[in-house]
Amino acid sequence: MKLQRIKAVAKKEFLHVLRDPRSLIMGIAIPLLLLFLFGYALTLDVDNVPLIVWDQSDSPASREFVSRFSGSRYFSQQRHTDNYREIESAIDRREALIAHVIPVDFARHIGSGEKAPVQAILDGSDPNTATIALGYAEAVTRSYSREISLRQALRHGGTTAVAQLDVRPRVWFNDDLISRNYSYPGLIAVIMMVIAALLTSLTVVREWETGTMEQLISTPLRGPELIVGKLIPYFTIGVLDLLLSVLVGEFVFAVPLRGSLWLLFGMSVVFLVGALSLGMLISVTARSQLLASQFALVATMLPAFLLSGFIFPIDNMPLPIQGITHIITARYFVTILRGIYLKDVGLDVLAGEAVFLAVFAVVVITLAIRKFRKKIV
């Protein structure tokens, strides 16, 4: 490998990128778009559950029960109805996520010290939101139920000593359970994979398809020099995106960065080399840009989104799929990012992940170089 030739290829590729400003702009704009979408617009938190109530009992007790829901910040939107059909249509049209039907004998049950059931109908077509909404509704109901029990126990002259059990939660690493703190660090892994898929995966195959590779082959340039030279400009764009991500996270979205900044950059660089080399390997193997783009999608971007634990927890997946996630580098990088950002852990905890990333990068770049040389001969 000659440094001079690598420099020449890198320069050619830099010029290529700079003279095609759209690709460069997109290489910055798409990451920024993702950062702002995830930071600003996308959240799995549920804080507004539209509720529809059919109060058949229409008694002081039932009204008190309903007022507990209006008092909760999650159920600020409330609508009343007196028929089943309206409930059906409200849920069909997603105007209500949950419907309470308070039966006629609600007040009588409470008055005589019995169990008073209230029916809660949920829109199960969005199970994630429905589960969370039901959790909120149950908590409101529980606190009301306990209050009624206590009140009646006192009135009966019974002991005030009614045993009760509270959960005292202590949430570590993300006290207020802000979902942005969960998704943002992982996003850095996704962005780097996106760059690899969108930029590097086409860079070699394009030269074959448009015929310019013939000219490159006729120069004294060697395979490894071409691959390394071509990686350099995209590596630069990747580092730029990394800086942007960290800065935007810090100054715009105030995502806590508790661990070492140097470790974060170090690990990111290792991951970036692996990601770009994977894009390069695809580019060297594919015969047309159309195919390369599809392979890149399946091999880099989709796994980074779906199988890395970025949004969908790996623990929930069936075992064979969990097995597959072990060969997805993004999985390890997402763990590293969350560890550094939220848990303030260092290499002592993350060593296994770090070694995997390094080995992956070396193996893939070697593969890309070897695959290429075979063709040029």
Binding site: L37, A120, I121, A130, E138, A163, L177, S293
Partner: protein
């Protein structure tokens, strides 16, 4: 005109399907994606890895710990003995929750006072942590209720009758609240979007980039025929993929399909108007396939993320919520989920169908006009 169109279509089909790897990309990859997606995309919270740190070791504390284990929500992975191990297990991500019962827990309960249990949660995954917390509240409350009853019984005398209020939840459309039923039908929309929009734009730009478009321009083919010839194959491929994925969803994942299948294809046709229109539009402003691919993703990302696929639209800031009205995927998802899970028909879905038709024809019209200009 039909003859020329036919010739063009034959050329396009040969081009798209000649390469076995391309056939693989068009039909096998979507199926693999559906299966992986279907298993991986899951937000049900079950079997949370949990550790028990029982400092009290009384009958009550053991009973409560057992109730956590039996609930099906918590998988008890280990019993912690030392304080320091709590931090370590959570740091390493080995457990997501630690149930800590302090000394005197049982004693407090026996004397009839309020006791508390401590639940340490790994909050990095805020969504899971929130759900876990509500499960824990439920388990604690039900144990508390039972203690009250047994206590009243033990103290003799008539059991004190106090009222309780209970929610009896019934989930419509998806009784067990399985997230798979929510996500799998939506995969159709994402795959159709990527395949049709990305591939159609790249297919047109490819002819520009490698110069074959010059050859087409010199043939007697008209522009309208050229556009139809380029888009019809993708319409058919899109329909084929919808059919394939629907079959996998229904037969493999056992997702119910309760509504009308013709309506599903009708909705798809309207959706394709938008995606192919966008594909054409992108091809008019791109010179290289790389430009086309990047421009396509500049639209595909926000379209997917702001569609309600995984992130509920109601949670977004209001300005963004308005923006989603310009997103064809938003309407298409409501249609797909409505047909699969709710079994509703055009009488409920007409606003979405109308929105899709309006949006689609506008995009397609603009694309065709621009396309005419760039060719001439």
């Amino acid at each position: 005109m039909f003859e020329r169109l036919k010739a063009m279509l034959i050329k396009e089909f040969i081009q798209a399907l000649r390469d076995p790897r391309m056939r693989f990309v068009l039909f096998v990859v979507p199926m693999v994606q559906t299966v992986v997606f279907g298993y991986a995309v899951n937000t049900d919270v079950k079997h949370v890895a949990t550790a028990i740190f029982d400092l009290d070791n009384s009958a009550e504390s053991r009973e409560l710990a057992a109730r956590f284990g039996k609930s099906g929500y918590f998988d008890v992975k280990e019993h912690i003995q030392l304080e320091g191990r709590v931090r370590e297990a959570v740091d390493r991500g080995e457990v997501k929750a630690v149930l800590r019962l302090n000394r005197g827990f049982g004693e407090t309960l026996r004397s009839g006072r309020a006791a508390s249990l401590q639940l340490i949660l790994d909050g990095t995954d805020s969504n899971t942590a929130g759900i876990v917390l509500s499960y824990a509240g439920k388990i604690a409350a039900s144990y508390g209720d039972q203690l009250r009853v047994t206590r009243a019984g033990r103290e003799g005398g008539p059991p004190m009758r106090v009222a309780t209020v209970e929610l009896e939840a019934r989930a419509w459309f998806n009784e067990n609240l399985e997230s798979r039923n929510f996500y799998v039908p939506a995969i159709i929309a994402n795959i159709v979007l990527i395949i049709t929009m990305l591939l159609s734009s790249m297919a047109v730009v490819r002819e520009k980039e490698i110069g074959t478009i010059e050859q087409i321009i010199v043939t007697p083919i008209r522009r309208g025929e050229f556009i139809l010839g380029k888009t019809i194959p993708f319409v058919l491929i899109g329909f084929a993929d919808v059919a394939l994925i629907t079959a996998i969803a229904v037969f493999w994942f056992e997702v119910p399909i309760r509504g009308s299948i013709p309506l599903l294809f009708g909705g798809t046709a309207l959706f394709l108007l938008s995606t192919l229109g966008m594909g054409l539009l992108i091809s008019t402003v791109s010179r290289t396939q790389q430009q086309a691919m990047m421009s396509a993703f500049f639209f595909i990302f926000p379209a997917m993320l702001l569609s309600g696929f995984a992130f509920p639209i109601e949670n977004m800031p209001e300005a963004i919520q308005w923006l989603t009205y310009a997103n064809p995927l938003r309407y298409y998802l409501v249609i797909i989920r409505g047909i699969f899970l709710k079994g509703v028909g055009a009488e409920v879905l007409w606003p979405q169908l109308a929105g899709l038709a309006l949006l689609g024809s506008t995009i397609f019209f603009i694309a065709v006009r621009r396309f005419h200009k760039t060719l001439s």
